[in-house]
Amino acid sequence: MVENQNMIGTREVPIITLAQAGVSFGPVKALDGADLVIMPGECVGVVGHNGAGKSTLVNVINGRLSPTSGTVSYDGAPGVADFRNSHRARSSGVRSVFQELSLCPNLTVLENYRIPYRNMPKAGWRKNAASAVRASLDAVFPDNGIDPYSVVADLPIADRQMVEIAIAFSRRDIDARLVILDEPTSSLDGAIADQLLAYIKTFCANGGAIIFISHMMGEIFDVASRIVVMKDGRIIENDDASNFTRDGLVDAMGHVVPDTQDVANILEKREFGPEVLRMENGLNARKGEVVGLAGLAGHGQAEVLAQCFLERTSDWSASRAPAVVFVAGDRSRDGVMPLWSIMRNLSLQTLVEFSRTFLVDRKAERGIARTWHEKIGIKTDDLDNPILSLSGGNQQKVLFSRALASSAPIVIMDDPMRGVDVSTKKEVYRMIRSEAENGRTFLWYSTETDEILECDRVFVFRDGEIAAELKGEQITEENMLRASFEMQEAGQ
């Protein structure tokens, strides 16, 4: 940091300067007092665990989020915090490649070039666009063989990612000066990724700057001239890449001090029953076990859970003895019935199980709701109140009760504690523990380390596959980070 500031006098103006920039959403600080200066010619690697604030940082830099405190300034202009930053970012040549693909699949490659190009000359634009995309594709990925006239939906996923990267580097009225690449190599194979890394080096040598976010340590060390480590919304390390080692980086990313009392609870030896679940990719679970699925968000955990659930349930009818139940994490999308009462939401899973006839057994329904109201402590006086009258944490408790009320031996949880307060979390942990002791098996995907530490066994996912299986005392944040981040050389 300090040496960068010294350079301002001697080299060109920085492309972007963040001074104590912070973003808060209500009480949550997504980004907290970030100082960052990026000079032309630099390649800044950004690493951090889930929720460390990487995407918030990127969105502040490309102007999509306005900082709620501190300032952002482009090209040495005075820093202001208003809502026109995205325009400023664009005109100083900041471009982004997002992690999820942001091409229009119904358009051709050259038409997609048109979308980010604001002031494109209209005359003969197809020809110009085709040659610009062609030139950029050839520069970044030599011998790619992608036709600019082909429709994006027809291209394989790797080609789409190549197109998106090439469009970000393409020639327009304002040249690309700072390109933000968020996991750019996630769908590329080794050789193609190497081409990209080589291009990044030439781009920086010619005075461009790159922000490179990746979970592949090899790639970070290969291209980055400087590395920024983020954690809990703060920039905790910002130094030349040569001053880091791979292990040092992993150490820097996480050092949650474990709550000793909790850990002691978990580590007591427990006997598990026979294996009740095994999937093709090696995921398995025994009776009475709490199995965690860890790793960076979006590395295939949710898909595995969905597959596991769908394989074991019928599309056509509900069973009186279900094999699995599902606790949704995205409450509004696949959990809560927003217009229904608390009781109806709670009993949804078990309607068939507890009804002897075609009709709903009202009395049994109310009984279940009462039991769980007591047992899990849903904060309401009247179960007939609408579900939305509850706080987020209590809604989540209802969803937990919905699943736990069933007799299903396996409970699948898809990051269920998102946005839940700490006391609710503690209660739910206890509930999960006691249910597990009674012989239930839990599959628990979580993006939060302290939840994963509650598990008996942990599978760490990377790129849709299991990267490591951790047991007992091996379950530490460090081991998880190590497995989530690719430690090998780039391209291997």
Binding site: R64, S86, H87, R90, S96, F98, S102, L103, C104, P105, N106, L107, T108, E111, N112, R114, I115, P116, R118, M120, K122, W125, R126, Y149, S150, V151, A153, D154
Partner: protein, 308 residues
């Protein structure tokens, strides 16, 4: 572009087969006069189909096209005929209302299907207010335009070709058309690049309204009078036309040429069934059957594509 070509092949084939069948049964239809009779009612349908296509292109659907076209026809047969300034003023204001509706639908996140369904009652009501009982008359120039004796090809053939070519260049080739289709394909990507999606949607709705106005005028030019219910079935015809022409309900995948061909096919199907001496009671059902067959064939094609 292979998939695009395949997409347009099916509507062309279905129109060709239907046309061949009609000519086989009634060889005299293969003349200037015969073609004009077969297709002249296809012109307003084609215009309404293009309007629906503009809406489907931005991932919405418009259930008010039929009543809006009826309203436009009523205004054309009354105000445009007697008081041109007021008449065109009303039509222009209606286009602005449409554009505003598009902006509100996006800005407030409302479901287009509900808003347009509600608006369809509004337009129907307005149409009845303008023209309480069937009547009115077509402006002379409009009548002359729709019944002009053009050399070689009749108006009924020239008009759809012109509509298809102009819209193909606008939607498929122009850089503005790319943005509009981009809204249907990936709204977020368009918004992220700094475009106003609200503005683009409003524009798409405005263009749709313009085509509805043209459709209503063309209808009056052919029918010489109007009625508040004159075009109610256009809502479903236009949706069917777009889909028949290779368009899809979501994802910004539309084809103006296909949509016009789809409209022609639907009109022709009705004539074909009359030639078969099928009782009118069965015609609507038979028209539906033709639609189902074509869509089933397309499904087979697209499944095959997905597997490749």
């Amino acid at each position: 572009m292979n998939r695009e070509h395949l997409r347009i092949l099916l509507p062309v084939l279905s129109l060709g087969i239907l046309l061949a069948a009609v000519f086989y049964m009634q060889p005299r239809a293969m003349s200037y006069f015969g073609l004009n009779l077969l297709f002249n009612l296809a012109v307003p349908v084609a215009l309404a189909t293009i309007a629906q296509m503009m809406i489907l292109m931005v991932n919405d659907i418009d259930l008010s096209i039929g009543s809006f076209v009826s309203f436009c026809a009523c205004v054309t047969a009354t105000f445009v005929q007697t008081d041109p300034v007021i008449g065109y003023g009303i039509l222009f204001a209606a286009i602005l209302v449409y554009a505003a509706m598009g902006a509100i639908i996006y800005a407030r996140g409302l479901p287009a299907i509900v808003v347009t369904l509600g608006m369809s009652f509004f337009w129907s009501g307005m149409a009845v207010l303008v023209l309480p009982s069937p009547g009115g008359s077509a402006p002379d120039w409009l009548r002359a335009l729709m019944t002009a004796k053009t050399p070689i090809l009749p108006v009924a053939i020239i008009a759809p070709i012109v509509i298809a070519v102009v819209m193909h260049y606008f939607v498929k080739r122009s850089s503005l058309g790319v943005l509009l289709r981009g809204v249907g394909g990936n709204e977020r990507a368009v918004a992220r690049s700094g475009w106003s999606v609200t503005g683009l949607k409003a524009f798409a709705y405005g263009v749709a309204a313009l085509f509805c106005v043209l459709s209503g005028m063309a209808l009056v030019g052919l029918a010489t009078s109007a009625d508040a219910n004159i075009a109610l079935r256009y809502t479903l015809l236009s949706i069917a036309g777009v889909i028949l022409g290779g368009g899809e309900f979501t994802g910004g995948r539309v084809s103006p040429i296909g949509a016009v061909i789809g409209a022609l096919t639907l009109t022709l199907a009705a004539s074909f069934l009359s030639f078969l001496h099928l009782s009118p009671d069965w015609q609507i059902g038979a028209q539906g059957a033709i639609l189902i067959i074509v869509l089933a064939v397309r499904l087979v094609f697209t499944r095959r594509e997905a597997l490749v």
